[in-house]
Structure formats: C-alpha cells, structure tokens
Amino acid sequence: MERITGRQQVTGMLFAGPYILGILAFLALPLTLAAYYSFCNYTLLQSPVWVGLQNYHRLLHDHVFWVSLKNTLVYAAFSVPLTLGASVALAILLNFPLKSQAVYRTVIFLPSLVPAVATALMWQWLYNDRLGLVNHLLAPPLSWLGAMVADVEGLFGAGAKTMAAWRNIAPPAWLNDPRWAMTAVIFLSVWGIGQTVVIFLAGLQDIPRTLYEAAEIDGVSPFGRFLHVTLPMLSPVIFFNLIMGIIGTWQFFDVPYVMTGGGPKRSTTFYTMYLYQAAFTQLRIGAASAMAWIQFLIILVLTGMAFASARKWVHYT
C-alpha cells in the first residue's frame, strides 16, 4: 500500500470537508436525535422527557399506524411491479425504429416533469365522480357492458333485481370511495413512469445486436428472444429500478397529501403522511421519531432482501 503524506491527508479532507460536515449535521446528528427522541415524550414546546419504549409500545397499539403501514405495503406491492412492467413494455415499444419515435418519447416523458402538487390537482379533477374525464369516458362502455350482462343473466333466469343492478352499473366515485381511492392512486403511478422508461431505453440500447442476430439464426421466436436475451441483459437495470421503486414508495407523500389528504376513511393514509401528521400537526415528536426509525429499518430490510435475491436473477456481464 502506498504511503499517504500528511499533506495528502489534509488536502483530501479539505475537499471532502463540506460533505463531511454535511454527514455530521444532516445525517449523523438527525439520526441520533431521532433515536433519542423516539425514547422520549417530546412536543417541541418543552424539553424531551425519557419514557423508554413507550412510543414504540403505543405505536404497536395504534390503529392508524397499522393502517398507514398496510396502505404503504399494498401500494408498493401493486405499484412497483405495475410500473416496472409497464416501463419495460413501453421502453421496448419506444425502441422500435420508427420515424416519430422522438415525439412519442417526449410525450411519455412529460408527466414526470410535473410538480407533484400539480399532478395531484390534475388527477383530483380527472377522478372527480360527476365532472371528471375518467368517469365521463368510462360510463358509456360500462353501461353497455352492464346491459349485456343483464341480458345474458336474463336468459338464464336471473331475478329482476340483479338485472336492474347490472343495468344501472356506474363507474366508482374513485377518490370519494374508500374502496377505490387506493386503486386510483396506484393507477396514477403509471402516469409518471417517464424517467424509468428512459433508463430502460438506455439499457435496451446497450444490449449488443449480435445476441439477437445469433438467437434469430438459431430460430428463437421473438418472445423467446425477449425471454432469453432482453430480460437477462436488462436485469441489472430492472434491479436498479426495483431498488429506486422500493425507496420511492416509502417516500410517497405529496400526491396523496394534496389529492386525498389521506382519506376517505384513511384509505390513502401513507406511512410518511402519518409520520408528518404525528410530528407537525399533533406535535408527537417522540412517536414520529420512532416511526422514522422503524421506516429506516424497513427500508434496510427490504433493500437487503432485494440485494440477496439479486444473485438469483440479476446477470452482470
């Protein structure tokens, strides 16, 4: 190992100096403080009082905590695979050598530029049950389908009541309906996949053409080529986006905060939203800090699991 002179040591630390200070002030100190507060009763107004594990204990019995945890996990379980799948599919479509390719790419990318607040407002309006575009477009085909089902059921001797129910079928009230609000938020996540698509596109372009040509000569079908060339070659990029997706869902705040405020009936209260409310509207700093640490550990475990699984499915060449 080469010797490092005192001068080199000082220069190196000086250049990294601002960042080292940043680590201390904006990472180490907050994490330590959060750990300390999580064992305290603290409202920001008086100094913290040590209460041991009370905050954690109370969270275990806090209904809203569990609801927010469940909501976040449900959202992650659906939106991460959905956005990954949709992004790969779109990237493949956008990779076809077409004349208007650039236009398509720009259009797909545009939504990911929009500030989350504006996205939330736009979709609040789109999902409006009476005046929204979504239901306006959904209603005609849905009632047509309902009428058809009613007719078919009529042939099999269904009661007038079931038939009427099918005939009067209407689109859901989305954000005003606790059963549909989460679905609406999950669908919305697909709209913002532009950045992921661009990353996948770059990944696709890095796959050597010769691999496809060799597979074609061997008589592999297009689907086989996708399965045995594209997917394995793309797996490091899929892995990267999976990690980003996992971290992203635990950061998810702006859109539901503005669009639904966590409702109706807490159906879209996400973990970080409850953390924010606990800290800044209820001034339960101790509980919020405990939640922050729990969140940190969950992310560590989830990304750790993703890394452990990577050995089985990620191909590095």
């Binding site: 250049f15 680590i23 904006f26 994490l31 479509l93 259009v107 500030p115």
Partner: protein, 276 residues
Amino acid sequence: MKLSRRILVHLLLLLICVGFIGPFLWMICTSLKTAKEASHVPLTLLPNGLYLHNYKRVLDNPSFQMMLYARNTLIISVLATLGTVLSSSLAAYSLAKLRWRGRTTIFVIMLLSMMIPFQVTMVPMYREFRAMGMIGTTLPLWLPAFFGAPFFIFLLRQFYLTIPSEMSEAARIDGCSDFGIWWRIILPLSRPALAVVALFSFMGSWNNFIGPLVYLTHEKTFTLALALQFFDSRAGGANYELLMAASTLVILPIVVLFFLTQKTFIQGIATTGLKG
C-alpha cells in the same frame, strides 16, 4: 420491420400517448372554460371559446401572488443548485482522485445514505433549524445543498474516475495546486456531468413540496408548489377552472426548461440509471 407490425406499434404508441397527454389537454381545456361550463352536466370536452379570464384572475388574485412565489422558488432553486454543484463536485473530486485515510468509509456512508428518505431525518432536522432560528426563512431549503448531496456526489465521482489521472499529474508537475487542478482541469472536463447535476438539482428544488411545507410559515416566502397547494385547500375542491389555470401556469416554466435542455436531460437520466 414488416409494414403490418409497424402500423400496430404506431397504433399502440398513439393510444398510449393519448393517455399520457390527455390529462394535460384536459387541464388546459378546463382552464379555458367559464365556471358554468366547467361544472356543467353532461360535461363538454372542449371549451366554448378561448376564455382567458381564469388566467387573469389567477394572476391578479391578491392572495395568490404568482410572480412573488415564482421569484422565491427561483432564488431557492438557483442557490440550491449552486450549492449542490460546488460541494458535490469538491467531494466527488476528493473521493475519486485524492488519496487519504477514511475516504472509503465516507464513500460507503454516502452509498448507504442514498437509501434514507428525507422523512426519516425530517423531524430532527426541523429541530436543528429551529435551534438556529431558521424556521420560516428559506435557508433550510438551500443551505444544506452546500454540504453535498450523496446521489450527485456518486454521479460525479463515477464521471471523474473516467478522467485519466495523467492529466492532473502533468498539471501537478507543472506546479498546479489541487484546487487549481479541480478548477482548471476537472471542472471544465466534467461540464456535461455538471450540467446533469445542475438540471436535476434545479428540478428537484423547483418541484420540492414537503420541504417548503415543513419549513415555510409566511405566505410571503412560499414557493410555487406550496402556494398551489394552499390555493387548492382554500378553494376547498371547487373552482377547478381556476385551479387548472394556476396549475398550467406552474407547470409551464418546467416544460419550457425541459424543451430547452432536452438532450442533457435525457442523457442524464439514462446515465444515472446505468452507472449504479
């Protein structure tokens, strides 16, 4: 590619694009409707005419001072971008090119810290800024940028590793200091990477919502994103024609910026995903 296949892909993409651009068109259409038109059942897709009065009402609204918020957002974003570019580039140079004990530790900490969402440190950070009397000012929104951002340090470090060391060594022999090497060789050579960092940190700062929500307390200091949310909560889910006009005005500068910097932008995103 066969013609039939080509037509199929075109059709698919066209359909998808309609879905992606539809919300924008709907927003603009709504912003051009009168209040009566916007809440009329059954709803009409296109506005009756170009009714620009909503935009005038948003811009003239004394409790929604668009220009002031735009100025606030611009100042915060420019300062944050400047801070991020400077500090991240210095740290990245140190991690990529300088030899000192502890740099591996710092690098590992940096990698790990990329996994920590803002919300985890949000509460104690608030406490820190409160102790320094900065709550209600814009300082917490740009001051930390001067102390490095892990993701951008990582990005720049990867880029600096590709710059041959012979260049800096030659300059060193000619009597150039480390600061001189960074300023005269590394910075000019890394212009494309710096542009990516600048653009991303500018966008991140411009679109940031939770930061201003936590730290800003006076309407005079609000950013566009926060003001838009405030505008919405005061409207109480009504007057969508005004809300859509305000949203259009907030989105417009970013879209313009995107079209001006499209190439840097797309290349930037592509490389951020691959170097990982």
